[in-house]
């Protein structure tokens, strides 16, 4: 009496086809990742060697290594993290632990969304107008890193907020009942429990900051420098900008060079993302609440 009818069979056929179609669509989004990484590996891995990573570019950047760019990216990312992580985590603490449900909080959320949506080149213009010109930092690591810090701030705020929110309210209540103040509760109970989640966000931010080009190209990153930066007031080369330069600005670059630079950049970024994913999965397995 309740056996499958002809309509059921037809529906099932449609269902199977549709599922297959969506699977194919997803496949088309995933194939490029594999193809890109594959192509970079095939064409770029040949050039990568100890001397490529740790020597200066020579002969008008058509030969030699990428060390100053690698070194500069580490500088830029480190300084930008020093600025954005404390600020972003504190902002997340305010939003998660203190903020009442009012208009100001809503405005902060809207501003965070907007900060993430402002085009990177507008961030660059802001960096030039504010840090380079107005605060007189000149084109320097400091100006470029602060621009990067503001640009990546929403990443830290959102990911820290999420991990703070995932700490159960009962943990806080237990602590308050012991007579602890709000700050003591945050410092001794909430933050330690949210630490791994916040760390994941910071690692993702490293990945994001290392790959950005537009915000740093007018604020502190130079196309070529004959010396390494020694303070935050120096200019520096950067890996992402170096890829742009060897691809578009320098004539007679051997084909493998830009592939090598791209491979190193993508390698760093995907490595960071993998570490973040690994931590997140471990955390999920360990969590008991």
């Amino acid at each position: 009496m309740f056996g499958p009818t002809l309509i059921n069979h037809k529906n099932e056929r449609i269902q199977k086809r549709v599922q297959f179609l969506f699977g194919v669509m997803l496949f088309f989004l995933i194939v490029p990742v594999v193809l890109i990484v594959g192509t970079l590996l095939v064409k770029g891995s040949g050039i990568i060697s100890w001397s490529f990573l740790f020597h200066d570019p020579t002969n008008g950047m058509t030969e030699g290594g990428i060390f100053p760019a690698l070194f500069g990216t580490i500088w830029l990312v480190t300084v930008s993290l020093l600025a954005s992580v404390p600020l972003g985590v504190a902002a997340a603490i305010y939003l998660s632990e203190y903020a009442p449900d009012n208009l100001l909080t809503r405005l902060i959320q809207l501003a965070t969304i907007n900060l993430a949506g402002v085009p990177s080149i507008v961030h660059a213009l802001f960096g030039v107008g504010a840090f380079v010109v107005f605060f007189r930092f000149g084109t320097s690591i400091l100006a470029a890193s602060l621009t990067l810090a503001i640009m990546t701030l929403p990443v830290v705020i959102v990911s820290s907020w999420e991990s703070l929110q995932s700490v159960p309210r009962s943990f806080r209540e237990a602590c308050w009942n012991m007579g602890a103040t709000r700050w003591q509760t945050i410092w001794h109970v909430v933050l330690p429990n949210a630490f791994t989640g916040i760390l994941t966000g910071v690692i993702l931010q490293v990945s994001r900051a290392a790959g950005e080009t537009a915000p740093i190209m007018f604020t502190g990153a130079a196309m070529f420098l004959p010396f390494l930066p020694s303070s935050v007031f120096d200019q520096t080369m950067a890996l992402a900008l170096h890829l742009f330069v060897v691809t578009t600005q320098v004539p007679n670059v051997p084909e493998s060079l830009p592939y090598g630079v791209a491979l190193v950049l993508v390698g760093i970024v995907l490595l960071m993302n993998s570490v973040a994913i690994w931590i997140r999965m471990r955390l999920r397995r360990k969590k008991k609440w």
């Binding site: 099932e12 192509t39 907007n114 085009p119 107008g129 992402a240 691809t247 791209a262």
Partner: protein
Amino acid sequence: MEPGDATRLDARDSRWYIDKGFEIVMFLCGISAIVFVVGIFLFVFREGLGFILHDMDVGEFFFSPKWRPTSLHHPTYGILAMVAGTAAVTVLAMAICLPFSIGAAIYIAEFATGRTRETLKILIEFLAAIPSVVWGFIALSIMNPLIITLFDVPMGLGVLNSALILALMAAPIVTSIAEDAFKAVPDSYREAAEALGATRWQTIYKVVLPAARNGLLSAGLLGVGRGFGETMAVLMASGHSINLPTSVFDSFRALTATIAAELGETPVGSSHYQSLFAIGIFLFFITFIINMTADFVVRGVRKG
């Protein structure tokens, strides 16, 4: 309880001051996002103000396709060609990106389970992680020769190349927001539909998709915002010549790319320099409106 105990408990000791102090510091950091958004507007506006007051002819700025800021006799500052180019590419990119992303999101949210779903999400996350300058490099070194051979055209840089790259760049964002929109549809809706004998696809088509409508709209809007704001990839993929594109193989120039290509070559404070900041203000407003609308659309659905 002795009288006076209450006052002792209420005493403002050092602990109280530390607590209050940290609360104030957290509050100041909390409002930093507002400070920065306002700061971005003010500083970009401040640099572009001279141009807006003295050199800008509103009609020319928005309706002339001639961008010749370096002309000695008669510099013109028209952004129409760039707006048209950016809009054309964004529309084409979304036309490619939306069906694939929403299809992928449906697969991840409604069909895939367990380990498969996690792996797929990680791969999509990897797609999102690829820096924009690397996409530009791919546009130049892989897509460009590919388009030339496939379509037998003299140049592979232009609208099609940029749109494909942008579609891939926007896909992870659109996919993950669309997936969130599907997840936000209560399971009870699906259960009700399946209890009536609907297949999984009928449930998705008749119940889940309409319920997630606003979330999908917002995903599309954020994709558009991304398209308008993307800089390095479009700079490298567009061919960067100013014209009103008439075919998908035409070269064009994006608003963002113009700033990126010319800011380094203009003396600080010149009209040309200031006009680039004026473009920046325009971009700021466009993305501001898009992001606010997207947020509003999503919130509307949660309340309703």
